[in-house]
Amino acid sequence: MREIELSLNQTQKIRLKRALEKLESSSSKANSNSNASVSISDSIPVNHEDGVLKGHGTLDLNGELVATLCGVVERVNKLVYVRALRARYKPEVGDIVVGRVSEVAQKRWRLDIHYSQDAVLMLSSMNLPDGIQRRRTALDELNMRSIFEENDVICAEVRGIQHDGLHLQARSQKYGKLERGQLLTVPPYLVRRRKQHFHHLEQYGVDLILGCNGFIWVGEHVEAKDDMVEDQVSKPEQQKSNKNSISLEEQEQTYTPIETRQNICRIANAVRVLSILGFNITIEVIMDTMNLSSSLNLDIHEMLGSEFCVLVAEGEAERRSLTKRKG
């Protein structure tokens, strides 16, 4: 395990060590089945009679299959491979990802999603702002920058890998541009694929999107508008008035309300703490961390201090040992 980079005093060090040992012991018991994690040079148990296809991160050494990477052994029929933990994101079809536009190209946007190559979002694989289903014309192509610009943060779904790269799609109102918030990056293995990746935390007025690629968006809640019903004439005017508001006073009025901003920052710092400690990031754990911090009456920026990190680690160890006893 990579050493956690925190400045701790002696007691905090011991407490953190104890909590992590507790976590380790509980996880090693749970992981003793076939879904084992391996480190470099560990042998992978295989049944040679069935025939084995050596996959990524494996090596045949004197008739024995050994791992050349640290990670989790995955088996698909005959294929045996090792999925490395500390690696770039590997997309799977249907994953919800958050990405940043790196280029506006012919009929497509290229997005950085922390994959080994840029992902492609075709103009034809997203709903147009006016919501009408139709062929995309040359005019639409010219107006692509009015939908997404370079550096915009976008949420989309992985559609699949085609001959020219990884394709995304955004065929619903819930996908699209993300504004008024902050983007956090965590190692992708901390975010597991789950049923729900969009979270609207109503009590805080915050939207939280846990991208499978380790990009996490925390922002002010926006109502998913159904543009189809909306009066289409009013839209361009609205945009124009937005662009004209350059003066500082007007800008200040459009800032995120202070309570919402506090909640956004608190949630963001909860995510940061979990990522420092290397814990899986799920909505429940984030909420627990956030509630812990508010119950301790900590200032938001104090959450990144070492004392709180140790507390979270201890809490997590406690929680896991409890759930294990139940199960």
């Binding site: 400045s7 550096n151 504004e179 902050q182 922002g219 200040e252 901003r261 990144l304």
Partner: protein, 287 residues
Amino acid sequence: MVGLSLGEKHFIQGGIAQDIRSDGRKRLTYRPINVETGVIPQANGSARIRMGATDVISTVKAELGKPISLQPDKGKVSIYVDCSPTAAPMFEGRGGEELSTELSVALQRSLLGGKSGAGAGIDLSSLVVVEGKICWDLYIDCLVVCSDGNLLDALGAAIKAALSNTGIPRVQVAAGASGDEQPEVDISDEEFLQFDTSDIPVIVTLTKVGRHYIVDATTEEESQMSSAISISVNRKGHICGLTKRGGAGLDPSIVLDMISVAKHVSEQLMNKLDSEIAAAEAGEDES
């Protein structure tokens, strides 16, 4: 570094205006500072400072040399900064050179005082061994390992920590050298002299975003700045140096206001840094 979308820029500016920045800090709050000393064994003194993701290493190497004829009673100190390509892809090749020079010059201005040596954080006359003949040359080299904004403050703190970690060997001068002859010296392996680092200033950079200014800006926040002023303040509250970066101009009244804020902030920073350095030194002795 990656760009930011309009929405994110707006969010950062709004946060600064409302006094809650993206990581929950107030405008005048620093990130936690982590100090390690004695990280480079070959150097006479070294330190590593981490503030959030910003990570810098500073080393001090002392060599015997000859003082320049204009100032026979003073030693020499030079400061160089190197930006490692591991910190950002744009530092690759000669890309980091411009920033390195800018930082070196700013540090020299802030720490070494004027041409006459007045107002210097490091007492140059303490470096002299034999007046006019032998003095210590201090080479302070800094390396930026990871850059997440506020490099100058981190470098200044790293130099301060490295200097308090520095031990200069005691030098015995053989008697009997006369006239223009260079006297023979004997460098002790056991006895080291500590520096007096209490006069070394800390650098406080105030970054102006919108109408407000903040300390310890991250890279994202620095991308939104109009201008930044770095003020070095010593323990007595005296201003030792001042540098301005960024394109936009500043009103003199705002500059004066910023200086008074920097003085106030520097007190806290100085105390925090001193206790961190003491803790790091204590930790090093233990292990």
